[in-house]
Amino acid sequence: MRIRVLAFARLREILNAAETTVELRDGACIRDAWAALAASCPALEEHAASTRVACNSKLVAFEHALHDGDEIALLPPVGGG
C-alpha cells in the first residue's frame, strides 16, 4: 500500500521534503512507515522519541494501523506562540 507522509520543521529538513510517499506491506503501522523512512534517512532515527504522529489529521500512536491512501504527519516538538 502507498502512504503519503508530511514532515514539518526540522523533520522536513532532515528528510529534505515536506511531502513524500512510502510503500508498505498490508497490515503495516506507522512505526513501519517510520522505519522505512529512517532506512533511507538514518538521521531521522534520533528523533523517534520526540516525534508525535498524526494519521489523516488526527493524533495517533506509532502502533496505529495504516491503510492504502492514508496520510501521516510527522510532528517534532512544537514551538508556536
Binding site: L6, F8, A9, R10, R12, R52, A54, S57, K58, L59, A73, L75, P76, P77, V78, G79, G80, G81
Partner: protein, 139 residues
Amino acid sequence: MFAVVREPIDPRTFDDPIRPGDGGAVRFFGVVRSRADDGRAVHGLSYEAFEPLAIAEFERIAGEARERFGDVALAIVHRIGEIGVGEVSVAVVASAAHRDAAFDACRYAIDELKRRAPIWKKERYADGSARWRENESVS
C-alpha cells in the same frame, strides 16, 4: 474564530468582536522579540503549521477553557511564514461576563497553544544563522 493566517495581524485593527452582553474582554498578542533568550540579535522568525490539526487544537483548547472557566468566547489566530521583529505572531481574545474568566481563559489558551499546537518556529539571527526553537516539552 480559530485560524492560521499568512497575512500580518495588526493589533490596532484586530477586530474579533467583544461578545454582546459580556462585561470583560482580554486580548493577548504574541510579538517577535528583538533578542533571543541567549541575548543574540534576532532578525525574524519563520513559522510553519500543520493547519488542520492546529485549528482542531485551537477548538479543543477553547472547549477546555469553557469547561474550566464557564461561558467564555475565545478567538485564536496564529500567523505563519516569515515574521519580523515587532510583528504579531499570535492573537488570543477571550470575552466573558466577568474579567476573572476572561483573564483566566486567555492565559489558559496561550499557554496550551504553546504547549501543544502543531506549530513550529525557526529563529533567524542577525548574523545569518538560524535554529528551530521548541517550547516546553509536551507530555
